[in-house]
C-alpha cells in the first residue's frame, strides 16, 4: 500500500462528510452552540443587576443562535405565551428584562460554545453575513412599508443551517484535524437549507421564518405564500449583505439586474437608497464585534 492511497483525497473527505451530515440530518439530532464572544457578553450582562436592558435586547437581536434559542424557549409551554411568539421584539416585550436575562444566561450555559479553532475568520464571516442580511431585510421592509420585525428575523436566521452544519462537522471529526475551508464551504452551502429547515421545524420557529429559511434563494422565493414576503425580502437582503461585506463577490450591475428587485417593484432610486445604507450596516456590525 502506498502512502498516497492511505491519505484521503479532498473528494473522498468531502464524500465522507456528506454521508455523516446526511445521517445526522435524518436522525434530526441538530445542535447550535453560541459563539464565544456572544456567550461572554451574555454572561456578563445577565450577571449584572444594573445591566442596561437595551444592550441585552441588542445582543439577542444580533446573533442567530441566541435569537433562535430565545424564540424556541419563549414559545415553550413553560412560558405559556397568550399567543405564539413570532418576533424577537415580541419575545422581549413579553418576557421582560429579568426573565430575558435568565433565559439568555441558561442558553449561554447549556448550548455550549463553538469550538472554532482554525475557523475564526470564516465563522465570523457567517455571523456577519447573517446579521447584515437581517439589517438589510429591515431596510427593504421599510421601503415597502412592510413588517420590519419579521423581515429582520427572516434575514438573521436564513442561514441558521450553516453554523449547524459546521458544528456537526467539527464535532464529528474524530481526529480533530482541521479540514481546509475549501473542503467545508461547498458542503456547508449544499446542506445549509435542509439543515436550517430541519432545525426550524424542530425548534418550531414562526412559520414565516421557516418559509424564508426554506425558500430564500433566487430560484425558490416566488414559491413562498406568506403575506409577510419574508422569503422575497430575504433573497434581496442576502445579496445586499454579500455585496456589502465582500463587494468583489458581486458586481453592482449584476446586483441591480436581479429578478427579485423587479418582483419587489424597486426602481433604480430605491436601490440607490439601499446601497447608501451600506456604511451604516457595516458600522453596526463592527460595533458589535468590538
Amino acid at each position: 500500500m502506498t502512502l498516497a492511497s492511505t491519505i484521503p483525497t479532498q473528494q473522498e473527505e468531502s464524500e465522507a462528510l456528506r454521508i455523516r451530515i446526511t445521517t445526522q440530518l435524518e436522525q434530526g439530532t441538530l445542535d447550535l452552540p453560541l459563539l464565544p464572544v456572544v456567550a461572554n457578553q451574555v454572561l456578563q450582562l445577565a450577571g449584572d443587576p444594573n445591566a442596561d436592558a437595551t444592550k441585552l435586547s441588542a445582543l439577542i437581536q444580533q446573533d442567530q443562535a441566541l435569537a433562535g434559542q430565545i424564540l424556541r424557549i419563549a414559545n415553550s409551554p413553560a412560558y405559556a405565551p397568550r399567543s405564539p411568539i413570532v418576533s424577537l421584539q415580541q419575545a422581549i416585550a413579553w418576557l421582560g428584562m429579568t426573565m430575558l436575562a435568565g433565559l439568555a444566561f441558561s442558553v449561554s450555559v447549556q448550548s455550549g460554545i463553538f469550538t472554532i479553532k482554525g475557523y475564526e475568520k470564516e465563522i465570523r464571516g457567517l455571523w456577519c453575513h447573517a446579521l447584515a442580511t437581517g439589517l438589510y431585510g429591515k431596510e427593504i421592509a421599510r421601503r415597502i412599508r412592510h413588517n420590519v420585525e419579521n423581515a429582520f428575523l427572516c434575514g438573521l436566521l436564513h442561514t441558521i443551517g450553516k453554523p449547524v452544519i459546521l458544528h456537526l462537522i467539527l464535532t464529528s471529526q474524530s481526529n480533530h484535524e482541521v479540514s481546509p475551508w475549501t473542503v467545508l464551504e461547498p458542503i456547508i452551502q449544499e446542506f445549509h437549507i435542509s439543515a436550517g429547515t430541519k432545525l426550524a421545524e424542530v425548534w418550531k420557529l414562526p412559520e414565516p421564518v421557516q418559509e424564508a429559511i426554506r425558500l430564500y434563494p433566487d430560484e425558490t422565493y416566488h414559491q413562498a405564500t406568506s403575506p409577510t414576503k419574508g422569503a422575497m425580502i430575504t433573497c434581496l437582503a442576502n445579496h445586499l449583505a454579500s455585496y456589502a461585506l465582500a463587494s468583489s463577490s458581486l458586481e453592482e450591475e449584476t446586483l441591480r439586474a436581479l429578478p427579485v428587485i423587479q418582483d419587489l417593484n424597486f426602481y433604480p432610486d430605491d436601490m440607490d437608497a439601499l446601497l447608501e445604507v451600506r456604511e451604516g450596516i457595516q458600522q453596526s456590525i463592527e460595533a458589535f464585534l468590538v
Binding site: 397568550r82 420585525e149 428587485i261
Partner: protein, 464 residues
Amino acid sequence: MSALSPYDLIVIGSGPAGQKAAIQGAKSGKRVALIEQNREVGGACVYQGTIPSKTLRESALQMVQFLQATDVFEFRMRDDVKIASLMTRLDNVVRAHGAFMAEQLARNGIERFHGRAKFVSEQEIQVKGLDGTTSVIRGKSIVIATGSRPRVPDNIPIDHEHILDSDSILSLVYLPKSLTVLGGGVIASEYASIFALLGVQVTIIDSADRPLKFLDQELTDQFCAAFENTGGHYRGQLKIQSAQWDGFSKVITRLESGEILEGEKMLVALGRVANLEHLDIQAAGLETTPRGLIAVNDHCQTRVPHIYAVGDVIGPPSLASCSMEQGRRAVCHALGLESGDAPEHIPMGIYTIPEMSSVGLNEQEAVEKFGGALVGRARFHEIARGQISGMTNGLLKMVSDAKGEKLLGVHIVGEGATELIHIGQMGLLYNIDIDRFVENIFNFPTLAEAYRVAALDIAKQRKR
C-alpha cells in the same frame, strides 16, 4: 426613448379615481393609456387603504363573534389562529380584488404601462420602468390620479417597526399588548376600534376634544362609549411633543403638558399627503397649492384645460366613492360627454366599530340654514331586528326642517350604518317628506324600520 404614441386619454394612477377614469375613456371608444408605478393595479385603496382596513374590520368582528360563541358551543380556537388568519384573509381579499381590477382594465382594452410617470410637457409624459429605461407617450387629455400616502410628522420617527403608519400596520405579525394611536380622524378611529376589539389596550391621543369632529356629536359620543367598553381610551385636547422607541420594549410619548405615555407600538395617523413628488407637474404648467394639492374646478379640470386631477390629489373629501365619480365625470367633461347632474348628498361612511354614517345636514347646520330643525331618534335596542341580531348599540337620527316635514339629513351609528344610510340618501335626492317614511311599509324585522321610528318621533314633535 421610443417614438411618440398618441393616446386620446392618459390616466396616471390606477386607484379608484384613475380606474374609473380609464374605463370611462375606453367605454367611450377612446384609446386609453394607464400608467401605474406599482406592479399591481388598484392603488392604495386596494393595497393599503379601503379594502384591507375594511377586510381587517370584518374579519376581526367575525372572529370576536366566533370566540364569543365558544362558550355556547364548547369548542376552542387555536391561539395562533388570531392574527395569522386575519392577515391571510386580508391578503386573499386584496389579491382577489387586485386581480379583478386588472382583468376589468384588460377587458376594456386599456393599455397598461408599468412605470413612474413624469411630465415632459403639457401633453407628453415620460414613463420610467423598473430597469431605468424610459419611453414618452403623448395624450390629448390627461388625468392625474396618483393618490396619497400617510403623512410623516417631523417630530415622530416612523420606523415601521415600533412606530407604524397606516400602511405598515397592515403587516403586523402579532398583536401588541398596547397601542398608542396618534390622530382622531377616520383612519385613526377605524384602526383604534379594530385593535381594541381584538384585545389590544388602545389609547387615542389627539388635539381635538372628541374624535371625528366633523360628525354629529351624538354619533361620536356613542362611538366613544363603545370604544371604552372594549378597553380603549380617547385622550383629547393633548399635544405631542415627541415620540420615541425606548430601545427595549416601549414607545414613549411625551406630551406638551409634561405627561409621559407608554405603549408597545404606536400608530401615527395624522393625515395624508398627495403623491406628486415624481410627477414634475411644473413641466406641464401646473403647481401645487400651499397644502400640496392640485387645484381644480367643478369638472376636476386644472388650469391647463386638457389636464384633469381627481381623487386624493385634489384633497377632501378623499373618499373612494367620490374619487370614482370624479374620475368618471372628469373624463366625460374632457371628451365632451354628458355626465349627468353633479352629485348631491354624498354619504360618508366611517368603518369604525360600530360603524358611523352620515348624509345631508346635521341639526346645527339645519338650524343655521333654515332657522330651525326637528330631530327624530330611533335607538336600535327599540327595533326588533336590533334585538334579534344582538345589534342593540345603535342610533339613527333623522333631521327635518322646523315644521317636521322636509327631510334634511340622516346620521347613523351602529352595525350596518354604512348600508342603512342609502335609504336616507335616496330620500334626500328625491325630496321625500317625513310622512312618507311613516306611511310606507318596511320589511319586518329589519334595521330599516328605524327610519319609520325616527320619522314618527319627528311627527309627534310637530306643533299642532
